[in-house]
């Protein structure tokens, strides 16, 4: 049975499932720096992320996308981290990081291209300081570690300059922790004291495999043997996620070395739209996690505090609908790539074989057009 209360699973929490602000000794100072506008933004971004996600799922059902990996249920873990990042930080994540991606300024069409089948990436990682979604599980954790090693070498860490010091973050899942690449990333990060934050969203499932198929140990302790301290946070509590991420990122930027966060959350949707979770998990488990909804929790807290009211809610709902309409339009307006595009980027410099194959293929296509005209 899923362990899902903070008393059953030891983890940092600032809001309980009913949205009551609970004492959070180590993080209350950090949390007290959040103003009403910050809190409203966290809430709003979670609402917009969920609307985006349900819209993308609908677009898949309508045949506009080939596949979609929903972020449903993981809004707090993603928005909390996203809002704790500074512009100069760099993120290497996997394919379900839509909330983090939005916080890096990516647009819906950027994220949909991979799943519509129009591109393999779709944005400039350097511009957004957010790398393309990693599909081969765990590979990105090494890239993040190497990037962080580069920041160390370039003196971009530990200058006590919050505007310049860089934290590198890698996001990955509970399943990913089993990959050799992830262990090697922990090895390098520990050995080189790399300024990287390992941010594991433990959503309890890797497709059909529950987390105990991967490990019998607590994931937040995974880094210990590599010299990397870890902490577990309630991944459905956006305040706690923000506070723990914010504090960890500051430490990483200050030169304290790598850290590991396990955000304890739940994948409420299917693995992707191609998956049928009724084959491997109970409805009761899903319902138990619905009662810990991250958005509802924050909403209760904010309305009790008088930070949002009915009018603000109505306005946000309208905004979310407007956003969904934009997502639909942006998706449908995405052009199919031209056949010639396929040959464009395999190499940066001209390549004789690619050129030859491109010429031959385009000539062949032209010959088909001629046949059609005849």
């Amino acid at each position: 049975m899923a362990q899902i209360t903070a008393t059953e699973v030891e983890m940092v929490q600032a809001l309980d499932a009913e949205g009551n602000r609970t004492p959070c000794p180590e993080y209350d100072d950090a949390l007290s720096t959040l103003g009403a506008a910050d809190l409203r933004r966290m809430y709003q971004d979670m609402v917009l992320l969920r609307r985006f996600d349900t819209q993308a799922t609908a677009l898949q059902r309508q045949g506009e996308l080939g596949l979609w990996p929903p972020s449903l249920g993981q809004e707090a873990a993603q928005i909390g981290l996203g809002q704790a990042l500074r512009p100069q930080d760099f993120v290497f994540g996997s394919y379900r990081e839509h909330g983090v991606a939005f916080s890096r300024g990516l647009q819906p069409a950027d994220l949909l291209g991979v799943f519509r089948g129009t591109s393999h990436g779709g944005w400039d990682p350097q511009k957004h300081r957010f790398h393309t979604y990693a599909i081969v599980i765990g590979t990105q954790t090494l890239h993040a570690t190497g990037y962080a090693m580069g920041m160390n070498l370039q003196g971009r860490v530990g200058n006590q300059d919050p505007e310049r010091d860089v934290a590198t973050v890698t996001c990955f899942g509970d399943g990913a922790t089993s990959q050799g690449d992830v262990s090697e990333a922990l090895t390098f990060a520990g050995a080189y004291h790399a300024p990287v934050l390992f941010y594991c969203q433990n959503n309890q499932w890797a497709i059909s495999e529950p987390v105990h198929t991967q490990t019998s140990a607590d994931l937040y302790r995974r880094g210990e043997g590599f010299g990397i301290p870890g902490i577990r946070v309630d991944g459905n509590d956006v305040l706690a996620c923000w506070a723990v991420a914010q504090t960890a990122l500051e430490k990483v930027r200050s030169g304290a070395g790598p850290l590991f966060i396990e955000a304890y959350t739940y994948r409420r949707g299917p693995h992707t739209t191609a998956d049928d979770p009724t084959k491997y998990r109970s409805g009761a488990e899903v319902e138990a996690w619905e009662r810990r909804d991250p958005i509802l929790r924050m909403q209760r807290y904010l309305s009790r505090e008088g930070i949002i009211d009915d009018a603000a809610e109505t306005e946000l709902e309208e905004r979310a609908e407007q956003f969904a309409a934009e997502v639909r339009e942006a998706c449908k307006a995405m052009p199919d790539p031209a056949p010639a595009d396929m040959f464009s980027h395999a190499y940066r410099e001209p390549h004789l074989l690619v050129q030859e194959e491109q010429e031959n293929y385009l000539a062949y296509l032209a010959s088909l057009d001629e046949e059609d005209e005849q």
């Binding site: 080939g66 596949l67 394919y95 291209g113 991979v114 799943f115 519509r116 089948g117 129009t118 591109s119 393999h120 599909i135 081969v136 599980i137 399943g175 990913a176 089993s178 990959q179 050799g180 690449d181 890797a206 497709i207 059909s208 495999e209 198929t213 991967q214 490990t215 191609a274 998956d275 084959k279 491997y280 199919d336 790539p337 056949p339 595009d341 396929m342 040959f343 395999a346 390549h351 074989l353 690619v354 194959e357 293929y361 062949y364 296509l365 088909l368």
Partner: protein, 327 residues
């Protein structure tokens, strides 16, 4: 027709074949990601964990090097593991274990340690997937002695390829054409006669067209269309990619004098390069036209909206057939 002939999908044929092997030999184990309760993302192992238990149909941690590496150890301890890799490109984390260990332990031990490990890999494109889900890495493994490579092109061959792979005392990689998993056909589970490394699916006199796996059904339509153009195509279907059924192919090429080779994998250093070189060596004086290859480009497999341009189709293969006929 024997009682044992049934019409089923390729997925069902694979499932039936795995079940048969597990019933016949208690040392046969299945390992992989999501193969238990879920029955695999393509449902090839559906129902097997329920019937054979969690100790014989093992959901492994998400770690391909770990899966293959432990399968090697299980084989050394006396089992016959059958490993499922979820999608083609996810075999690469296991590349080291496959090529430096699995392929070489028999030779390294002076022939004393057999390694009856089967690795099943759904391969090829055409199902509209994101990156890494549509590749054809067979030639990559063909370069490493010690691995037998097999594929199938219809439900019947799929059933028997799995039987042969599991029975083999050598490691075998079975490349399963994922876009044909739902293809239906007759399967004779008591056929008895081995399929052989290659087979002739259509007899012809003008051109030999050799292909395998997912492209074989496309090649069958090429044969039909070519006939309308007055060209008689002999279709050779490869079931073994290592070793290759070169004698059968040589015989065919010597009769037709022309050869077209098709595969989804890139032509550059692909299976077609090897087949072409071998036929030049064996049948040079019988060739009436340059050998033509139709395959993928020297490019990363493209986003799915472009895959129809990457994958050889009826038109491109027919074009090659007509081209060799101009000589």
């Amino acid at each position: 027709m024997s009682q044992a002939v049934k019409t089923m999908t390729m997925a069902a044929a694979l499932n039936t074949s795995l079940r048969t092997s597990m019933e016949q030999d208690p040392k046969v184990l299945l390992m992989g990601e999501d193969i238990g309760k879920l029955g695999g993302v393509f449902r090839i192992t559906e129902g097997l964990q329920k019937d054979f238990g969690e100790h014989r149909v093992i959901d492994t941690p998400l770690a391909e090097s770990g899966i293959v590496g432990t399968a090697i150890g299980l084989a050394i301890s006396g089992y016959r593991p059958v490993v499922e890799i979820q999608f083609d490109a996810f075999v690469f984390p296991a590349y080291d274990q496959i090529v430096t260990q699995l392929a070489k332990i028999h030779s390294r031990t002076g022939g004393t340690q057999p390694l009856p490990v089967t690795i099943r890999i759904p391969y090829g494109g055409g199902i509209g997937s994101p990156e890494h889900h549509s590749e054809s890495p067979e030639a990559v493994f063909g370069h490493h002695a010690g691995l037998r490579l097999m594929t199938a092109s219809d439900p019947h061959s799929a059933y028997w390829v799995i039987q042969e792979a599991i029975r083999s005392d050598d490691p075998v990689i079975v490349f399963e054409p994922k876009r044909r998993y739902w293809m239906r056909g007759q399967v004779d589970t008591e056929a008895g006669t081995p399929l052989g490394a290659a087979r002739i699916l259509a007899e012809g006199t003008d051109v030999t067209l050799v292909t395998y796996g997912p492209l074989t059904p496309v090649a069958q339509t090429v044969v039909e269309q070519a006939e309308k153009l007055g060209i008689s195509v002999e279709l050779v279907d490869l079931l073994s990619l290592n070793p290759l059924g070169l004698d059968l192919l040589e015989d065919s090429v010597k009769r037709t004098g022309r050869l077209v080779i098709g595969h989804e994998a890139p032509t550059f250093l692909g299976m077609g390069a090897e087949l072409s070189a071998r036929m030049v060596e064996r049948a040079f004086y019988h060739l009436e036209a340059p050998i033509a290859r139709v395959g993928g480009f020297h490019l990363p497999y493209p986003p799915s909206r472009l895959e129809e341009h990457y994958l050889p189709d009826l038109d491109r293969m027919l074009d090659a057939v007509e081209e060799v006929m101009t000589h």
